[in-house]
Amino acid sequence: MLIIADGKATEVAQRSDDHETLWVRLNELPEATGWQMKPEGACLGELCVPLPEPKRQEWIANTDEDEWLNYSEFADMTGQKYVQDGDVWSLSSIPEVRHSSLESAIAPDFEVTERNGNTLRLSDLRGHKVVLFTWASW
């Protein structure tokens, strides 16, 4: 199963008994979606969404000898959109992240590879003025 999110595609395990719902193994969750399960809830960087105990019981399943999160339900709660076609799931950006950049005007952070091979994180350029622009060959 493939998850497309945040500009990359990650191959992950699929729960054998349910192909209609997006179940993600907890150990594959950060790499595939950016979210990480912590005692205080699901966290994406500094943003944490509390997961009350009833929800934890409902959305986290122990099966196929692994712990899985019902990501479909979780995404419905955060407002993140997803589309499935066969074994490929595509996730939208996370509304909370987008909204917070709309409200605070702090530019959404990203990590990209420059053509010269260097890794570039926008937040590493703090202290400098930055002009960011897009273009295309089309």
């Binding site: 076609d85 509304p95 959404p108 990209v112 590879t113 926008l122 003025k129 960011l132 897009t134």
Partner: protein
């Protein structure tokens, strides 16, 4: 690209950072010749999944943001040509862009928050596209379309391109990337005309916000005057061979 390089050099590379991001599912193959031709010294990135447009809510190229020393967006614009340039169109050439954005950028780098082109948070908010269920779903569809396109699964790619375009009809990236990947010609011309139309006539004008730019009310985008003279010249050249 050369016009951005000119702007970069005219301001001074030690005074600010410039990041050029190609929104191209074709990757290096599609964009290398543009990057290479221009001997660029600023930061260049190829973004095959249009991730930067998604994050900033941009729906067309070129678009740009100014980000200050604290990481705050102080201006976001669509339709940001840094200067006038010509591009091939059929047998001829078209001209697009103007100097307004470059002048404003120069002013901002020089004067920072004091620059008259820096937008207040209210003004800025009005130039950022709202995040809606439709735009998010469209984004997921578009990324799926790009994936299948890369897998050469044309049928499934088309299905998801179509879904994305229907959900976000004002997103020109979703249309133009699809047109070019299907080999539909004239996408530049169509889009430029339509973009110009949008800027002038619809409420979308606010996203092409020229507020504070030197020729705020003027819309200069494409002038087809070169088509015929340039076409004639090329025909003559061919006949001579």
């Amino acid at each position: 690209m050369p016009v951005w390089q000119e702007l970069y050099e005219s301001i001074g590379s030690d005074r600010f950072e410039m990041i050029s991001v190609a929104q191209d599912s074709g990757g290096a193959k599609a964009v290398d010749k543009w990057f290479d031709r221009a001997s660029l010294t600023y930061r260049c990135v190829i973004d095959t999944t249009h991730q930067i447009s998604s994050l900033f809510g941009w729906v067309n190229v070129p678009s740009a943001a100014w980000i200050d020393e604290q990481g705050r967006i102080v201006r976001s614009n669509e339709g940001t040509y840094p200067g006038e340039f010509k591009f091939n169109f059929g047998l001829g050439k078209l001209r697009a862009g103007d100097d307004a954005f470059a002048e404003a950028t120069r002013d901002w780098v020089n004067h920072g928050a004091e620059s008259e082109y820096v937008l207040s948070s209210t003004e800025l908010a009005a130039t950022l596209r709202p995040v809606t269920e439709e735009t998010l779903l469209a984004e997921a569809e578009f990324k799926l379309a790009l994936h299948f396109k890369a897998q050469k699964d044309t049928k499934r790619a088309q299905k998801h391109f179509a879904a994305a375009q229907q959900l976000a009809p004002d997103n020109w990236c979703y249309m133009r990337q699809d047109w070019v990947s299907r080999g539909i010609a004239y996408s530049d011309f169509k889009t430029s005309r339509l973009t110009s139309y949008l800027r002038k006539n619809t409420e979308d004008a606010r996203f092409y916000n020229r507020k504070g730019l030197p020729d705020e009310d003027e819309t200069r985008f494409i002038t087809p005057e070169w088509i015929w003279t340039s076409a004639l010249r090329r025909i003559k050249q061919r006949l001579r061979r």
